[in-house]
């Protein structure tokens, strides 16, 4: 059986490989990088920068960092830390890395600030115990599992932002699967980046235009092909409304968490959640 297994593993490896593409447009000093198969979606990066070599170097760092995070957050990858935590934390205290611990502490804070509507367990975050002193994680209930699907892209975009800021790339647009956009600086021929939001139920119809400058935009919503992918952790009901919500903040992680929580929240809850955050532009579109 070893032969077929090895072949299967090789095939799986090929499918999981990130395919990266990049091109530098000299005349426009525009660098474009594309990364497919990353966190279940794709990422496109545009840097406006005259130093071509710097763009390529930063892009390599971005690809490496995203691949690292993809591996860390992928609960289906048997080699990932979160896979191990999900497998063992109900029966023992699992020692976690600094980074996983800090991400989960942030998630706990967001859980509280969002009235419990943002929940990486999708059911009962209170069953997740974070022992900061011993840096361990344990679950006090069976069938608890952590899924970073609703926030990993936001966290990753903050990491990408750090890489760009360190390299002093000032004008950049990062599109992470359309739902998460990070805009640094401005378009070369404008004073900001203008992004439009398309109605997923009526392709071509623009529901809004949003101007970003050193800000992140996160959009949550349903699509005709994916109506059941956002769940209310309290009621376990899918949110099936034909609507999308978008959130603009200075921090991608905040934006990502808020767009999910506000998609689930009723108007009263939305007001309460927003009161916990500063400088948030929130919009809801009933389609």
């Amino acid at each position: 059986m070893e032969g077929p297994c090895r072949v299967l593993r090789a095939v799986l490896y090929l499918f999981s490989m990130n395919t990266a593409y990049s091109h530098y447009y000299d005349a426009s000093s525009l660098f474009h990088g594309s990364l497919l198969n990353i966190m279940g979606t794709r990422l496109d990066a545009v840097f406006i920068e005259t130093d071509k070599a710097l763009c390529e170097l930063v892009w390599q760092r971005v690809v490496a960092e995203l691949s690292r995070l993809d591996k860390m957050f992928n609960r289906f990858d048997i080699e990932s830390e979160i896979y191990s935590v999900n497998l063992r934390a109900a029966t023992e205290s699992v020692i976690a890395s600094d980074e996983l611990m800090s991400v989960l502490i942030s998630c706990k804070r967001y859980h509280n600030l969002s009235l419990g509507l943002f929940d990486v367990t999708l059911s009962d975050f209170n069953a997740v115990h974070l022992d900061v002193e011993h840096q361990t994680i344990s679950f006090s209930a069976k069938n608890v599992s952590i899924d970073f699907g609703a926030c990993a892209k936001g966290y990753a975009l903050e990491k990408v932002k750090q890489l760009l800021v360190e390299a002093e790339i000032k004008d950049a647009l990062i599109d992470f699967g359309n739902s998460s956009v990070l805009a640094l600086g401005h378009h070369p021929f404008g004073d900001c980046w203008k992004i439009s939001i398309e109605n997923p139920f009526r392709p071509g119809e623009i529901v809004d235009e949003i101007e970003l400058r050193d800000e992140a935009l996160s959009t949550s919503g349903n699509m005709p092909t994916h109506l059941k992918h956002i769940v209310n952790p309290g009621t376990h009901q899918f949110i099936e409304d034909e609507k999308i919500v978008s959130v603009v903040t200075q921090n991608s992680f905040d934006a990502e968490v808020l767009s999910t929580a506000l998609m689930i929240a009723n108007p009263e809850e939305q007001g309460k959640i927003l009161a916990h955050f500063d400088h948030v532009l929130f919009r809801e579109y009933i389609l």
Binding site: T19, A20, Y21, H23, Y24, Y25, D26, A27, S28, L30, H32, S34, L35, L36, N37, G40, T41, R42, D44, V46, I48, L173, D175, G177, N178, S179, V181, H187, P188, F189, G190, W193, K194, I195, S196, I197, E198, N199, P200, I206, E209, I210, L217, T219, S220, G221, N222, M223, T225, H226, I244, S246
Partner: protein
């Protein structure tokens, strides 16, 4: 034909065409990569707005008449003379432009002082004598492709070109075709990576014959079918595509192998109706060339294969090997390249891989749908021929030579003739040293 509207049109098309090029990333920078266009900026066109090039058409068959129709719409052109030794074609041309004086002997026509430029659209075996006579008579000269029937004739034309103060053009219309210019500039910017191969083909399904009113006219009318007057599929079709191949590679192949046969049209013709050639560049890249005229399924095309993607120049589209950029991002890039600030239509619920089509084409020119099946024996519309002839007329007025056109035609014609030699002698043929000219890089 409403003349006023149409008159303006070709002129405007050339202006708009140059203007469009200006909008492409760093217009000036791009113009440097297409030296033959540098004389045709809007400013230079306005300098000649009240002048007219007085041109003669030598050879008024189908291609000559095609040029006449374009010339009638060009404000800075005036057709003053027509010449053909086949009366029905001369009459047809004369009906199109009745004011033009008609000739049956081109040498007589060349004596006329009223002609500034001559446009030659005759069978291939007549190209060399007519081009040389026309230049010797002091006429600015445009000749259809290919350059000539033999390598020695090509060399003689090239030598004459080096020593003349007259303008000389050849009918390499892809040099004036926006989708080729932009597509090749994208290739040279590295969009599809390193060029690793080129595939060219031209397929038709017809016998390539013209009706012959009486048998003694067979070789005159169906000159394309006989070696004494034609190089067959190479000089008639491949010449354009080999020129594009060299344009992409920025060099010339050093050798060629190939096979040619008459597979289907066994009607007494001499030239092959099926050819398959492989041109070898020094860096190992090969251009394969296939043409046959008894199956049209594949039409015509030039595929430039890069390690990151594929450019289909004739279709004006390209594909990426692995990752297709998101359409919204591609739109952003196009607009930045055009220096336009616009909204980027990307935001929405998550993009999921199953909605992606891996081999989706991207277009060289936005909204461009103009392609040709390659079926016409005369010429396709909007293929650059009108811009080319308009540019020639401008050069006739200004006397300014266009760069590189003669060299491009020389090298692609040489490759056609070497391809024919390889097929006839069934061996690998190297580009002979004695026919190498300084412009060519191998």
């Amino acid at each position: 034909m409403s003349t006023d509207k149409n008159t303006k049109q070709v002129d405007l098309e050339l202006r708009q065409f140059i203007k469009n090029l200006g909008y492409i990333a760093g217009g000036t920078a791009l113009l440097i990569t297409v030296p033959w266009l540098q004389s045709f900026t809007t400013d230079k066109l306005s300098e000649i707005k009240n002048e007219k090039a007085r041109v003669a058409i030598l050879g008024t068959g189908s291609r000559g008449q095609y040029h006449i129709l374009n010339l009638l719409r060009i404000p800075h052109a005036e057709i003053v003379a027509l010449c053909d030794n086949y009366p029905p074609n001369l009459k047809a041309a004369s009906d199109l432009c009745p004011k033009a004086k008609t000739y049956t002997d081109y040498r007589k026509m060349l004596e006329s002082k009223d002609i500034d430029g001559v446009i030659i659209c005759t069978p291939l075996n007549w190209h060399a004598p007519m081009v040389l006579d026309s230049l010797a008579a002091g006429k600015h000269t445009f000749c259809e492709k290919s350059m000539a029937l033999t390598m020695d004739e090509c060399k003689a034309i090239y030598e004459a070109y080096l020593h003349t103060d007259r303008v000389l053009y050849f009918g390499m219309q892809r040099l004036f075709d926006e989708k080729y210019i932009k597509g090749l500039s994208m290739i040279h910017s590295g969009l599809i990576g390193d060029i690793v191969g080129i595939r060219c083909h031209w397929f038709r399904n017809n016998d390539w014959r013209r009706p012959v009113p009486s048998p003694e006219l067979e070789r005159k009318i169906n000159w394309r079918l006989y070696w004494e007057s034609s190089g067959g599929l190479t000089t008639e079709l491949a010449t354009h595509q080999l020129e594009v191949s060299n344009w992409a590679m920025k060099r010339i192949p050093e050798s060629v192998v190939g096979m040619g046969d008459i597979v289907f049209w066994k009607d007494g013709r001499e030239v092959y109706d099926s050819i398959s050639l492989t041109y070898h560049y020094r860096n190992g890249v090969k251009t394969t060339y296939e043409s046959l005229i008894s199956n049209k399924f594949n039409g015509l095309g030039e595929q430039v294969l890069g390690h990151k993607g594929t450019m289909e120049l004739e279709k004006g589209q390209y594909f990426f090997e692995d990752v297709a950029p998101a359409p919204g991002i591609l739109q952003l890039i196009n607009n930045v390249e055009k220096r336009v600030f616009s909204t980027v239509p990307i935001a929405g619920p998550s993009w999921v891989p199953e909605t992606a089509s891996k081999q989706k084409p991207h277009y060289v020119i936005e909204g461009m749908v103009h392609t040709t099946s390659g079926g016409s024996m005369v010429g396709a519309e909007n293929d650059g021929s009108d811009n080319l002839i308009s540019a020639f007329c401008q050069s006739v007025i200004t006397g300014e030579k266009a760069k590189d056109i003669v060299e491009e035609c020389y090298s692609s014609t040489m490759l056609c003739l070497l391809g024919n030699q390889a097929m006839k002698e069934q061996r690998k043929v190297d580009f002979p040293d004695e026919y190498k000219i300084p412009h060519l890089k191998f």
